[in-house]
């Protein structure tokens, strides 16, 4: 996968591709996969699965062939215990349980026999092990089903051999092979060792289950790590303790990119519990924020966390800010407003028809609006941290990663990738921040430098000041409405950012040529202009979409209101212009699936029906990360502009749901995240973030959480991910409801900028 494909994946095969999924991203297992199997040392069956047939010319464009490794996905012990392996990082999205369910379904295992284990980090065996782009489920769906079905086929073959009956007479259920005619049964455990000695089935001979035959997929499962979570077992990297481990904390320049010139080293080194303190030059600056290594600063090494954190309070550092960011949010706002009034050097990303003429001659009226949204932090609750142990010329690390990168981490410590062993720990929240590995690099570097085990701890303040944020932005819209009240012309001008380091559009910024409603109006134009950005920004839950949905779906509601049309009817008519055409539009958006969820959300929420006094509905739809999602928010606003979100009805079309409990949890959490984020921002002045902890960045609390009702459209399509796509439509649905309640259109996020607060 090249860099551009990776970017598209993070964006949910998103803006810019024009295709559903970038070519080469999805493995085509039915064409070019094979299974291998081996007896484990202690008996039993261990099954690996490998993508790609060597010599298959077609495979050249896809992921490279991977070697067979025993037990990569399925291990069945003679005592009947089944261990299934989850290869991707668990960040709270529930993938460890979900992958277990998919494997167990095709294996026909009894769920209570199953333990799910986290895979080792090993690109040669598993390819890219990533939690990102909501792509874990769609990318692994075929692979895992084949691994499960392959193991089942071998167990069935072993029973057939033992009993001298044809395979066709055998059935399986709950970890047992059954021969109905003779009443014989054998447990998977009893067959495992014999099965391991049998030839491997051709992947093309495997028959996968039909949806109607699923016993596990679609039911509710509690997360496999829940018992460990509720008893406080060590699951996270921050919980790892090694013999003789030292603690490290790094003070970085408040203005991003500044370097330490000098500090009160003698005083710091004399403090109790302090072992050493030194300036870090950092690894050379990089163009791509994803490849950030060690940033400059002052490292303090001590005997425990409190010693190093206390010493940091006594630090007096002289910073060299010559290379530091001078970014100013207030400056950006002024420039963007000016640029939007009088675009200069703008880039047209899509133009068709004659939008100016259409707007000038709009039969009914034109609507204009300017939207603004700020930067926000990832604020995952577990601050950045990593434990590293350099010994004998190699380094082993325990880290909360969304995208393990041994080459990058090794480089930070002056080691090749094969001298780096990464241990994937449960991640205490990701949201995109841990796709970067800067904190892992720090630990590798410091462990080598102090020549022993070290735990790098970031404070919350470090985490928020040295985040790579969600990029802010600005959008100016104009729309023309025809005599029938229909959207006839659409112009979007975005003021967005380019990273000064790379000269490229900042991650999550920009407008795609295929953004909705490009394919649905004849006179259409989208353009953008750029402000230079030194502040690091990176992927943030539903990147791009989480703000594009808000501006676009708010503005389309403005148009519907100006046209005097019901919002549901307006959207159904708009999507209906491409209904039944078959071909997906706007990078995979299927207008009929869109209409389906819009109608479903409206129906389930009681759209147009009487609501309790003072309650109002707002609706929005957005397609991202291959998911079609519509939401209806029920909101009230009191006289002091306090907003209460009472209920959000989610209609989601993401193919068949794997674990209903986790799927609902993602919907509930995304809605809470969306509500909270509406009232949050990180502002920077002179390159330094003005918010550093939850006192000034108040994450939502329990009272803010609404009732969330979720309805899934089930289908025979392949399942797609749910970690991201429910967030984007929630924000405009709520803002549209605020408009219904008050007549006020929120055009600035956070809503506090317009005098609104969350109740």
């Amino acid at each position: 996968m090249d860099g551009e494909q990776f970017n598209q994946m993070m964006l949910g095969a998103g803006p810019g591709t024009g295709a559903d999924v970038a070519p080469g991203m999805l493995p085509n297992l039915s064409r070019r996969g094979f299974i291998k199997v081996a007896g484990g040392a202690a008996g039993g069956l261990v099954l690996g699965l490998s993508l790609g047939v060597p010599g298959d010319a077609q495979a050249q464009s896809g992921p490279p062939p991977r070697p067979f490794v025993p037990g990569a996905f399925v291990r069945i012990a003679p005592d009947g215990k089944i261990t299934l392996i989850s290869k991707n990082p668990e960040i709270g999205q529930g993938i460890k349980t979900g992958f277990g369910v998919i494997l167990a379904e095709e294996l026909d295992a009894k769920w209570s026999d199953v333990t799910v284990a986290q895979a080792e980090v090993n690109a040669a065996v598993y390819g890219m092990q990533i939690a990102g782009g909501s792509m874990s489920t769609p990318l692994a769906w075929d692979e895992l089903r084949h691994a499960g079905a392959g193991a089942r086929a071998m167990l069935v073959a072993a029973a057939a051999q033992q009993w001298g009956v044809p395979v066709s007479e055998l059935a399986t259920s709950e970890s047992t092979v059954i021969h109905a005619a003779s009443g014989r049964k054998a447990s998977y455990g009893s067959l495992a060792t014999a099965a391991a000695a049998l030839p491997v089935p051709d992947i093309r001979s495997l028959k996968l289950k039909a949806r109607k035959d699923y016993k596990l997929i679609g039911q509710r499962f509690t997360g496999v790590d829940n018992p460990a979570i509720v008893t406080g077992k060590p699951l996270f990297a921050l919980d790892v303790q090694l013999p003789g481990m030292r603690y490290a904390s790094i003070e970085k320049c408040p203005s991003v990119g500044g370097k330490a010139k000098s500090f009160n080293a003698d005083e710091i080194k004399r403090l109790p519990g302090i072992i050493d303190a030194f300036i870090i030059e950092g690894t050379p600056p990089v163009a791509d924020v994803m490849k950030t290594g060690v940033l400059p600063g002052v490292a303090i090494i001590g005997k425990n966390t409190w010693a190093v954190l206390s010493a940091r309070k006594a630090l007096k550092v002289e910073w060299d800010t010559a290379t530091a960011s001078k970014d100013s949010w207030t400056g950006f706002v002024q420039q963007a407003r000016a640029l939007s009034k009088k675009p200069q050097g703008e880039t047209v990303v899509k133009a068709k028809g004659d939008v100016e003429k259409a707007l000038a001659t709009a039969k009914s009226k034109t609507v204009e609006a300017f939207y603004q949204f700020g930067f926000v932090a990832h604020a995952q609750l577990e601050p950045q941290n990593t434990v590293a142990w350099f010994k004998d010329g190699a380094v082993e690390l325990w880290a909360p990663m969304q995208l393990p990168d041994a080459a990058l981490v090794g480089a930070a410590a002056g080691l090749p990738a094969d001298k780096v062993k990464l241990n994937q720990m449960r991640v205490g929240g990701g949201f995109g921040r841990r796709l970067m590995n800067d904190f892992v690099c720090e630990a590798a570097y410091l462990s080598r430098r102090v020549d022993g085990p070290v735990k790098v701890v970031w404070t919350r303040e470090d985490d928020m000041r040295h985040d790579a944020y969600r990029v802010g932005g600005f959008m100016g819209y104009r729309a023309g409405i025809d005599a029938q009240g229909k959207l006839a012309a659409f112009d979007a001008h975005m003021v967005t950012f380019k990273d000064t380091a790379s000269g490229k559009v900042s991650k999550g910024g920009g407008i795609s040529p295929n953004e909705f409603p490009a394919d649905y109006v004849d006179d259409y134009r989208a353009s953008q202009s750029f402000l230079p950005l030194s502040t690091p920004v990176v992927w943030w839950r539903a990147p791009g979409s989480n703000t594009m949905a808000w501006v676009q779906q708010s503005f389309l509601h403005e148009v519907a209101v100006a046209a005097g049309r019901d919002h549901v009817e307006f959207l159904v008519e708009l999507f209906g212009r491409k209904s039944g055409t078959g071909a997906p539009t706007n990078r995979g958006l299927d207008p009929d699936r869109a209409i389906g969820v819009i109608k479903l959300a409206a129906e389930k929420a009681g759209w147009g029906k009487r609501l309790p006094k003072g309650h109002h509905h707002g609706l929005a739809f957005y397609f991202s990360h291959l998911g079609h999602i519509a939401e209806v928010a029920e909101v009230s606003v009191d006289a002091s502009k306090k907003v209460t979100v009472h209920k959000v009805t989610v209609a989601a079309d993401v193919g068949p749901v794997i674990n209903l409990s986790a799927a609902e949890n993602q919907c509930e959490g995304s809605v809470v995240d969306a509500i909270g984020t509406m009232a949050l921002e990180v502002t920077m002045e002179n390159g330094a973030a003005q918010q550093a902890n939850f006192d000034r960045y108040p994450l939502p609390r329990m009272a803010v959480a609404p009732k969330v009702e979720t309805h899934f459209v089930q289908s025979d399509r392949s399942p797609t991910g749910l970690g991201e796509p429910v967030f984007p439509p929630a924000v405009p649905a709520i803002c549209n409801a605020i408009h219904a309640a008050t007549g006020h259109r929120i055009r600035t996020l956070p809503i506090t900028k317009e005098g609104f607060t969350l109740a």
Partner: protein
């Protein structure tokens, strides 16, 4: 030397600075890593433990202030292998996403039910207001608290919850 009573055990501590917050003593010195760090300024509740049954923010309490008090952490909620009613409700309702906040949530909820066995929604909101869940599992936390309050005891967890199909 300092003496601490943690989860019913008497422990001795040597060479720990007296101003060290209880949080870091539990985690770094005693290996009780269930109690989490999230903010260090009494905002997130990830570090919630009980002192004589009262929920406190362990990031704010110097270890010198807890001598003679009974300290309970998330590791002390279960009786051996038997989960507490609330822990079981947390498993049955599949509350956690990333799980990082949940020790603190459980400690606050346990303290709530100890003083108010049948709280209203508003009382739950108030008692839990000091605990942030970045993943947004608030609805489930509330459901689990209510279920635990209703039954007085959790139901046996089977991993697969209910029979309903999506």
């Amino acid at each position: 030397m300092m003496r601490l009573q943690v989860n019913g055990k008497d422990l001795q501590l040597d060479g720990v600075a007296h101003d060290t917050p209880l949080l870091w003593v539990l985690r770094d010195e005693l290996g009780l890593v269930g109690t989490k760090y999230g903010c260090g300024i009494a905002q997130c509740g990830a570090c919630t433990v009980h002192l004589d049954g009262q929920p406190v923010r362990a990031c704010q309490i110097p270890v010198s202030a807890v001598a003679g008090l009974k300290i309970t952490t998330v590791e002390g909620l279960a009786q051996g292998e038997r989960l507490s009613t609330l822990q079981q409700a947390w498993v049955d309702h599949d509350v956690a996403q990333c799980g990082y906040c949940q020790a603190g949530q459980l400690m606050s909820a346990t303290a709530l039910l100890a003083t108010n066995p049948d709280p209203t929604d508003a009382q739950i909101d108030e008692a839990m207001a000091g605990n942030i869940c970045r993943c947004g599992t608030y609805g489930r936390i509330k459901k689990a608290i209510k279920a635990a309050a209703q039954t007085g005891k959790g139901q046996a967890g089977k991993g697969q919850i209910g029979k309903e199909k999506a």
